[in-house]
Subunit: 292 residues, 2 copies
């Protein structure tokens, strides 16, 4: 198949505008970039994403992956971001559009044209992502039962995320996601950190990077600044990551899907506080004696 | 045409689950509801929205309105929410599906079928809302130039929102929007307050209520806990509201569209602080002498 040709066209993430504060002073204020990026797969227009533009190629890949529009990274020949036209063109080897079936993990084949047609009526999210198919998939996900997350590593992740350089600290108005190691000496270290104006874009960009680099999820931890809604849990499970952490709270469907898929989900991670909601069998608290 | 038949099937907004905190204690924790709600227009499936379910009828109406899928509220005969099937059925008088053109404010006609077809390829957002058409529309919006927002009323709105009973205070994981008066003795009062798991749902539900009740936007103020992204600004402008306030920050496109449409946008409203970003000509600061 040959290697995937890929551009690296990140955009500057912040821009400065002038605002007037409550004292009547004009203050230069950094704001987060937001750009429409139209995704084409073999010249077929799929979607326009509003993005910070920090990882546009990975975002496009993660979108195709998480929407299950492309079955394997090997099917792709090129990912080319062009900000002059606000587009990312993804080219496949097979020119799969309309004709060649996409095979999912369960061995079900469907043409892209058929899948896109179905997508028309299922496009949802709080409002945004294809939903119906994802729930089908959830029941086939098997997250590693033997994986463990210690409280110590949880705190390490929280510390590293807090200290990480971020657009959020400068300009706000973005959500961040971090993929962290849960293996060997690097436990708790941040492997990828992506911010975007939408929660889903940030997680898609990490999923795209993992897909591109063949990174497995079993020995990883996923952290998001955003809320733990149904889709965040589904995407984490799709990536095969058993641990999902958030600074924020969760919704009922996030909770129910987390239980159903057996993910270990920890919310309200702030300071030295957290709430373990699901999958407690994988979580190892510090023994009380060690705290004395 | 006769009156619109409408259900009032709000769902309970919070549910209690058990979580384990950092001290190993099991704590009952309220979490926000999140339910799929599939929207049908004349039996045609349009979209599945993930919603808190606090104002499902208004959400459905606001979605149809803000996506410009129905031209006038008078075209509609019924809005019926049924949680057993997770559906909201909207019925029109004209059985417009596919056949009858929808006329927009500029007098352009298009059938629903054609509009839905185009929607397939333009569905975006950070990821979610139809975008292309909205930008076309923005240039036809004329917000009232003579409207004024005083700093005093700004602070009143901030105080009322802060003191308002909310799901957010109980369970987090939701965004809130408030429609406030900017007229007469009720200046600064909250007229509608809607929370939802998605920012867009909350604003759509308020738009739906305004549409249903023929409430004009010119003498109103819109407050959101969410970020001021492009779509938030567009939706506020679509509602004809000249003032947009947020506790959060803004994005570059939110800023650019706010300038283009001439909306008065104030971000970072917290405590006695704010940042006035655009439309300063409508904003009246307290004279310095009055502060002494």
């Amino acid at each position: 198949m040959g290697g995937l040709q890929i551009t690296h066209n990140a955009r500057p993430s912040t821009f400065e505008v002038e605002a007037v504060n409550e004292r009547g002073e004009t203050v230069p204020t950094p704001i987060a970039g937001e750009h429409p990026l139209t995704l084409y797969l073999d010249k077929r227009e799929l979607v326009t994403l509003m993005t910070l533009g920090a990882a546009p190629e990975h975002l496009a890949l993660g979108y195709l992956r998480n929407q299950r529009l492309v079955g394997s990274i090997d099917e792709l020949a090129a990912v080319q971001v062009d900000w002059e036209t606000g587009s990312v063109a993804v080219t496949s080897h097979s020119l799969a559009v309309g004709g060649v079936p996409i095979w999912d993990d369960a061995g079900r084949g469907e043409t892209l044209a058929a899948r896109l047609e179905r997508r028309t009526v299922t496009t949802g999210c709080g409002q945004g992502t294809v939903f119906g198919d994802l729930m089908d998939e959830i029941d086939r996900v098997a997250l590693p039962a033997a994986a463990r997350l210690s409280e110590e590593v949880l705190y390490t992740v929280m510390d590293r995320v807090r200290r990480h350089e971020s657009i959020y600290k400068v300009a706000g108005a973005v959500h961040g996601c971090a993929l962290c190691s849960n293996a060997g000496d690097s436990r708790g270290e941040i492997l990828r950190f992506v911010e975007d104006v939408g929660r889903h874009n940030a997680v898609d960009a990490i999923a795209g990077w993992m897909w591109l680099e063949s990174v497995a999820g079993a020995d990883k931890i996923f952290y998001t600044t955003g809320r733990l809604t149904s889709e965040m849990v589904i995407k984490c499970a799709q990536m095969g990551i058993p641990f999902l952490l958030s600074r924020s709270g969760l919704t009922q469907m996030g909770y129910e899907i987390a239980r159903r898929v057996g993910i270990t989900m920890v919310g309200r991670c702030q300071g030295r506080h957290y709430l373990l909601f699901t999958g407690g069998e994988r979580f190892v608290r510090q023994p009380v004696s060690a705290l004395a």
